[in-house]
Each structure stands twice: as C-alpha cells, then as structure tokens.
C-alpha cells in the first residue's frame, strides 16, 4: 500500500470543536416555533390488563393540545421482523413498569405532566413473572404474550439447539471434563443524554429529529405504524449523547411525537426523564449459563456443551439475535472441535433487554473464560498457557462455519502479559491478576430484515465548490463522521476538514443500516473507500486531459491538496468543466459466510477483532472490597484508521466493563426497578476508574478498509472474566457471577471456611427441553470460501 497521509494519524475528530464548545445541537436542544411538549403516561404495574383508559379530563386541561391513547397508534412494531410485538401506546395489556399507555402534547412540559395525572386508567393486575425460573414454569395468571405469537410453552420467547460436530466423540477423547454454572447480571447503558425526539408535519411530510443510533430502522418503523409511504417521512439523527446499544430500537416516544405532530399540525418534542430512560432500557440480558468442557491432559479442548438462558424482559427487541450471540461467538477465539449450543430466551415483566455494547457475547465470554481458568487450575496449568494452546489460527473456519480472517490473539496476549508482568506477578493474599481474551464481529453479516441490498452506501459529490460526502451512517460519539472524512480525505489527498459531510438524514443520504454491531468503520468505511476511489479516477482523468497526459495516469499524484499540476480546488473546476457536476457512489455488502443450516445468518461477520487483557486487583478478605489497580488491554483492530479514536473506544469499553463487573445492576424488587436513578444505579466515577494501558495491534485485515476492523465493543468482553480471575488469584475463591460485590466475595470466603466449594454463584441450570437439535456437519477448517463460491458449493452438495 502506498504511503498513507491521514489514515493512522492521531488527528482530532472532525466534530471536535462543536463538541467542546457546546455548539453541537442534540435533539433536546432543538426548539421550533410553536413547538408543543409531550409527556408519556406509563404503567405502574409490571403485568396488568388494561380495562379502560379515560383521557377526557386530560383533554380539558388548559394548555393541552392533544391526547393519544393506544387506539391512535395500534399497529405493532419491533426492530426485528420476527418480533413485531410492541405498541407505541398499549391498550390491551401492560407488560412492565414503564410500558407506555397514553401521551399528551401541551404548551409546556409542566402542563403535559399535569395532564397525565388527569388520565384514568383502570387495570386488572396480573401476577408478574420476574425470573428465568418462573418464566419456564406455568404462569399463575397468564403468559406475558399471546401463545399465537410465541408458539411456545409458558413464557418462552425463542429457543434453539445445535450440534456442530460429534460431541460424544469429543468428550470420549477428553482426559478431564468439567461442568460449571455462571450468571451474568443485566445492566443498562446509562447514556448521559436522555432519549429525545422532535417531529414536524408540514405539507404532508413528516420530519423527525431523534437521538437514535439507527435512522433507517426508525424510518421503517414510522412508515409501518403511521401508515405513511417512506418517501413522506424524513428521519434525521441529531447530535448524539451516547448510545452503547440503548438507542438502537425504534421507541414509543419517536412514534408518539410523530403522530402528535400529525394531529396538531405543530412541532412536538418529547424528552424522556432519567427514570424513563431506565424503563426504555434494551440493556444487557441477564444470562444463566451451564457449560461442560472436555480437555486433553495437556489442556486442549475436545468438546464444549454450552447452555444459556436469557431473561429478555417484556418484549422481543433484538432478542431473536441475542439468543444466538450468547453462544455462536465462543468458536472464534478457541478452536473447539465439537460444539453443542442450546439456548432459550424468556419473557419476564421487566423493561425489555436488547443490545448493550457486546450484544449477547460478554455473558458467554464470561462463562467460557472462567471455566478455562478453572480447568487450568484442575490440571495445574497456567491459565494463560492453557488458553494459548487453544487459540484459533488466522484464516481458518470454525466448527459452526464462522470464518476467521486476520487474528492478532497471540500478539495481543504477548503484549498484555509482558506489560503487566503477569508471569512474575507478586503472589500474596489479597493481590491478584487475571487474564482473558475475546473477539467481536466487525458488523453482522446479514441485515436485520432480509434483503440483498448493500448494508452501507456512500455518495460523493464534487462541484466547483469542493467535495461533499453523503452517508446514512450515524455519529453517536464513536467517530462515524470522522471515519468517513478520513477515508475520503486519504483517497483525494485532502485534510479531513476539507471534506463536507452530510450524514444520517434519510431525505438526503443513502442508506447505512446504523451504528450497531460495530459495523460502521468496516462497512461505511468500505463504501466510502469505493466512492472516493471512483471520484479520484474521474478527477485524475479530467486533470490528465488538461495536462496532456495519456496512457498511464499513475504519474498524476493525488496528495497534499493537489491533483497533478493543480490544486484540488482547480481540479474540481476542471472536473466539473469536463463532466458537469460529478457524483460517485460506493457501497458495501458482506459476502455470504454462514454454513448450510437454518440460523447460520446470525454470528458471521466479515472480520473479527481480537482483544486480550490483564486485570490487577487488591481484594480485601475482611471487607470483600475489590480495588482495581490497573488494566492492560491489547486490541487487534486490523488497522487503526485513527489511533486516538481507537484508544478512546478501547478505554471506554474497559470502563463500561468494569462497571458491569463491579457494580452495575438492572435489578428489580417486587416487580419494580430497584433503583431507576443515577445516584442509586452505581456506575464508576473518575476515582473508581483505574489506569488503563492500551496497546493497539494491527493485523491489516484483507477485507477491512485499509485493513481496519472494529474497536467499539470487543474490548469490553475480556474484562469481567479477567477481573473475577484476578479476585480468585488474590483470595482463592470464585465469584461466578457479576457484579462482583463485596457481599458476594464474602459469601465465597464463608463457603470456603465452611468447607464447601470455595465459590459464590448460581447452583444449577433449570431443567428445560431444548427440543430437537439441528445437526451441522463442520466445515473443513481451511475452507475460506464465501459469497457465490460458497453458495454454489452448497447447491452442488
């Protein structure tokens, strides 16, 4: 590859000035003339039938302009085509405390809030289902959703069972087999910005500004529920105050303000309160896991049988994907010759769970890493050494058909073990280190709704005034806009600030599926690269003609703001003179990667990132307090398009992981959220967050833009198991669930002093019939075929 001028440089993000001066306009900062304010009435019951809703008195409150109830927006929606189970306002039953029931638009927020108090809702309260175990039993009153929708027993939402390879043969080869049960508690994203949306309806066209991560999916949901054609709806991503997966579903308030704008003819805004943000949730699924693993005497894995049960909360959300993710990604870090994966997701009367940073994978990662630590202890081996012996190799195919391309696991491991001095660590009670690894997808291989279109599209325009890039990708703080500018600037020989950007506006930008599944750098980056190279060719052609160069155009340099003999500005004029206004487009669609079986579309990614981490702790046997001294983390990002932004993603991931590992908990008591406030929902502050030393590893992936892979989610995964492992190293006891609170540490120590197993954690996995397993023949590990080649092979077979 030729010299890179922008890629790899620690340049400031393109929106840095707007962000540090407070100029950036977030959704709640938008004020429009005659704007009304909306508040939403939510269920106070975890589970109840709605008998009646009387909004008459609310409509008469002075200053109220409109009141909506469920019949005004009756069409169900949901992020996944197979889980269209939510209503913007429910009129039949409520399924969690916080489920929306009615909405008011008034001249100010205070009037709207007061009008909510005037709405009379009559409920018939039903027995709530508040745990995985309860959900798998016959309910006292009735299932949370209709049987016609779930088509499964009790409160089971989805279930799946797979056999990849010959499990029995694998266990037969094992010298040592171990079973463990783990629990990973749910947590929420806690974005600093509360969700907010503003809608207008003018000339039969609806415009919505929202703090969403997915303008395209919100666009689709609005069209469905409001029964408007998509060309009459415009969704614009406002400056975004943090998502982490929590703003990746279409939300009730987005639909409600849209309908209210249509009804009143005035702009309408709704900003959730902090309490409501806890109910909007879509956070980490609480997951119970049972894992059985066989190894040879020298620590090589022969078979893994993995079961998970996900507490999904009240609605589907991303659940049909989450139920896969808890298990599918185990095979991309360790070479597992035979793998049985069984999983079930249940409905409970809690705020709906969905994708939080790492979506479904930190739970499985937690279980598998800790079990390997325990196996190492059983065998008297160093856990890092045991794990290393089982690392996947680059350019291989896993037992469940996931294709691994570039893989920096070994280098990541070396970096953190060396830097932390893990092998030479001080061995004394109360001090310990833990090591864990992980991988994560660089974008899902399939779209959320089935289609053959590109996952990301970028258009470039050059006219006599310069270049503009258009892309539906949504900047949520991760640097999506910056990546687009860096790629275009690199290819056209410009500085990032020379590139104008129009992003996340469904009227003007081509579709990008959104900021989820760590897909933006890989997919929008590749689309931008293609569009920019096409534009570069056109400009070079026009400039060559002007310079009288024929044949080989490679002598025309594109660099430092110049194309050949001309400045970029002059080249734009020359290009426009030659061709008229120029436009090019680029797009990216991942190839088919998954194997020949039902469900193979969830899990494949065009490339996986890899991380390794060491956590160093002081753990106090008297108080149970765990103090993290330092975290070393190495992340294989393929190539750092901007090392500053990559490091920021890695550090943020480590921090968020420490929150989950030590304190954060979306917990319930008597059917209600235990602590829906930022004071009581504990999250790490400046003083709780330890030093984080980050190493960026570059393996230059063959399919990533400039070789880049994801950075925003993967580095979260190894931290919780490494922390638990460090506590074990310090105190000799296992805490087999997060968060690792002082109480749990003390319980584990007490268990040991009573002569019981030195651990605290779940004791058993509930009995459940996962049904008939789908048997899948494993691929040849060297079979790298993808796309049409692979599809032809399946047709031939």
């Amino acid at each position: 590859m030729s010299r890179l001028d922008v890629v790899g440089q620690p340049l400031p993000r393109v929106d840095a000035a707007a962000k540090v001066t407070g100029v950036a306009v977030y959704a709640d900062d938008i004020v429009l003339p005659r704007m009304l304010h909306c508040r939403i009435l939510r269920s106070p019951h975890p589970h109840a039938r709605i008998l009646s809703v009387d909004a008459g008195a609310a409509r008469r409150v002075p200053g109220v302009r409109a009141v909506l109830t469920g019949q005004d927006v009756p069409i169900r929606y949901g992020i996944m085509p197979v889980a269209q189970d939510e209503r913007a306002l429910e009129f039949e039953k409520v399924r969690y405390v916080g489920d929306p029931v009615a909405a008011v638009a008034a001249v100010d927020e205070e009037t709207a809030a007061a009008a909510l108090d005037a709405i009379r809702v009559e409920y018939e309260v039903l027995d709530p289902v508040m745990s995985i175990e309860e959900a798998l039993r016959e309910p006292a009153d009735e299932p949370i959703h209709e049987r016609a929708y779930t088509r499964r027993a009790f409160n089971v939402h989805r279930q799946l069972a797979y056999d990849f390879g010959d499990l029995e043969a694998g266990f037969a080869r094992a010298d040592h087999v171990r079973e463990d049960v783990f629990f990973y508690q749910g947590s929420t994203h806690l974005p600093m910005e509360q969700h907010s949306a503003v809608a207008t309806y003018v000339d039969g066209r609806l415009t919505l500004w929202s703090s969403t991560q997915v303008v395209h999916y919100v666009h689709r949901a609005l069209a469905r529920v409001l029964e408007l054609p998509m060309h009459r709806i415009r969704v614009i991503g406002a400056a975004h105050g943090g998502g982490f997966g929590g703003k990746t579903d279409p939300f009730a308030h987005e639909i409600v303000v849209s309908r209210l704008a249509m009804v009143t003819g005035r702009p309408v805004k709704c900003t959730l309160t902090r309490e409501e943000v806890f109910y909007a949730h879509r956070g980490r699924h609480p997951v119970l896991m049972w894992i059985r693993t066989g190894v040879t005497r020298d620590g090589r894995i022969t078979a893994v049988h993995y079961r998970s049960a996900l507490d999904g909360g009240a609605y589907g959300s991303y659940g049909p994907a989450s139920v896969f993710y808890t298990g599918t990604q185990q095979t991309t870090t360790y070479a597992i010759p035979a793998y049985r994966f069984e999983s079930v997701r249940v409905f409970t009367n809690k705020a709906p769970c969905g994708p939080k940073r790492g979506h479904g994978t930190p739970q499985g990662r937690f279980g598998i890493e800790l079990q390997l630590d325990k196996i190492a202890e059983d065998l008297g081996m160093d856990p890092a050494e045991l794990k290393r012996r089982n690392f996947v190799q680059p350019f291989t195919r896993a037992v469940n058909w996931l294709r691994i391309t570039s893989c920096g696991l070994e280098e990541c491991t070396r970096k953190v073990l060396d830097a932390s001095g893990y092998a030479r660590r001080e061995r004394r009670p109360g001090r310990g280190m833990g090591f864990a690894i992980s991988s994560y997808m660089s974008g899902a291989g399939t779209a959320i709704y089935w289609n053959d279109m590109a996952h990301s599209e970028v258009q470039l325009k050059v006219d006599r005034t310069g270049v503009t890039a258009y892309c539906g990708a949504m900047e949520i703080g991760q640097g999506s806009d910056s990546v687009l500018a860096f790629v275009v600037a690199e290819e056209l020989g410009l500085r990032p600030s020379d590139v104008r950007l129009v992003t996340a506006d469904t009227d003007t930008t081509p579709v990008d599926l959104g900021s989820y599944s760590s897909r933006v750098t890989f997919m929008a980056g590749n689309a931008a690269l293609q569009a920019a190279r096409r534009m570069r060719d056109l400009l070079v052609e026009a400039v060559a003609e002007r310079m009288g160069v024929h044949g080989d155009l490679s002598e025309i340099e594109v660099r430092d703001g110049r194309i050949g003999d001309f400045s970029f500005e002059e080249a734009c004029v020359i290009g426009t003179t030659r061709f008229g206004a120029l436009s090019t487009s680029g797009s990216y669609r991942p190839p088919r990667i998954g194997g020949p079986f039902k469900g193979s579309g969830v899990g494949p990614s065009p490339a996986y990132s890899y991380s390794a981490c060491v956590v160093d702790v002081d753990a106090d046997a008297r108080t149970g307090l765990v103090d993290v001294r330092k975290v070393w983390i190495a992340h294989d990002v393929g190539r750092a398009i901007n090392p500053l932004l990559v490091a920021g993603q890695v550090e943020g991931s480590v921090y968020m992981a420490l929150g989950e590992a030590l304190m954060e908990e979306q917990a319930y008591r008597k059917g209600r959220h235990k602590w829906p406030s930022m004071l009581e929902y504990k999250s790490p502050t400046f003083v709780d967050t330890p030093a984080i030393e980050t190493f960026i590893v570059e393996t230059v992936d063959p399919e990533g833009p400039y070789g880049a892979k994801e950075a925003g989610q993967g580095p979260l995964l190894p931290v919780p198991p490494a922390l638990v492992s460090a506590v074990h190293d310090a105190l000799g006891v296992w805490v087999d669930e997060v968060p690792v609170t002082p109480e749990k540490v003390l319980r584990a120590l007490e268990a040991r002093s009573r002569g019981e197993a030195p651990r605290h954690g779940p004791r058993a996995f509930p009995a459940f019939d996962f049904g008939e397993r789908i048997r899948v023949e494993p691929p040849d590990p060297r079979d790298m075929r993808v796309g049409s080649e692979l599809e032809e092979a399946f047709r031939g077979a």
Partner: protein, 171 residues
C-alpha cells in the same frame, strides 16, 4: 412519570413569576420566569444557552455543571432567584469555536470528547480546578471531576487533556 403517582401536579395554583436579572458570561439578561424554574431551565429554555446539558435533573450526574462566581455548581439544583448579583459562566462563556479555551483545545486534540454530552460540565469543573490549582496532580484532577459522570471515554483521555491544558499554562 408513572400513573397513580402521589406527587400530583398543581395546575390550579397561580404560578408566581419574577423578573430576574442574571449575569451570564459577562452579559446581563432580564428574564420573566416562574420562581420555581431552575437555573438549568432558564439557561436552556429562556436564554437559549443549550450548551449546558442535563442528565438527571436531580443533582446526580454533574452534566449540568456551570460556574457561579468561579465555583462549579449544579444548575439543576439552583434557583435563579438565589443568584442576583452573581456571575454565571456556561460553556458558551469558556471559549468559542473561533477561540478555544486551552482546556477545549486539549479536549479536542486528545479525543477527550466522544459523544460530547458531558463535556461542557466537565470543562467547567476542570476550569474551576485549574483556576485554583494551576498544576494539579493526576489524583487531584480525578477528585475534582468525580462528581461528573461520563459513559464514553473511561475518563482516561479527559484526565490527560486536563493535564495537557495545565502543562501549557493558563491563557
């Protein structure tokens, strides 16, 4: 707001309004506002100073931090009627896109703002710290900013940026 909440809103009671004279970023403003409106609401909704953000409106997250006579205060817990004659500084008064304050410059250079939502509050808390202690230690920075939550950065680059701004000295 949940249905059946005991904290009913009182609409029939007359709202008491007062003319407030507020000095914000060196400019004097006259505002007619209900006496119960918080400084956060008055800044954002009546003065159009939307650089000040809100995360909880209960004094828990530090997002709405502004300076009152140079000291960091949570604007969601202050009533403007308390602030006659006091000088209020918001992020708009710290610097501008044309002339960044050294803290803003350092935050931009080091990637200390990701989503940027907590940034205004943290910048002001950091400014108050540097005014008092021009060369704070690493731990003094962490302590001074401990009331401000950030979910994006893991705080690392924020501390580095404050250190860089301190190193470069005050303007």
């Amino acid at each position: 707001m949940l249905g059946g909440s005991p904290m009913l809103h009182e609409l029939d009671r007359p709202i008491q309004r007062e003319v407030l004279i507020l000095s914000v970023n060196g400019e004097e403003h006259q505002v007619l506002a209900p006496v119960h409106e918080t400084l956060l609401e008055v800044l954002r909704e009546r003065l159009g100073l939307t650089g000040t953000k809100h995360g909880c409106e209960l004094g828990e997250c530090g997002t709405c931090t502004v300076l009152v006579d140079g000291r960091p205060q949570l604007s969601c817990l202050l009533l403007p009627v308390q602030l006659a004659g006091r000088e209020i500084t918001t992020v708009e008064g710290l610097g501008s896109t044309a002339d960044l304050h050294p803290l803003q410059q350092a935050f931009a250079e080091l990637g200390a703002a990701q989503c940027g939502y907590c940034t205004p509050g943290i910048l002001l808390a950091a400014r108050a710290l540097l005014d008092e202690r021009p060369r704070p230690s690493h731990d003094e920075i962490r302590e001074a900013l401990a009331g401000n939550l950030c979910r994006c950065t893991g705080y690392t680059k924020i501390v580095e940026a404050v250190e860089l701004a301190a190193e470069r000295g005050r303007p």
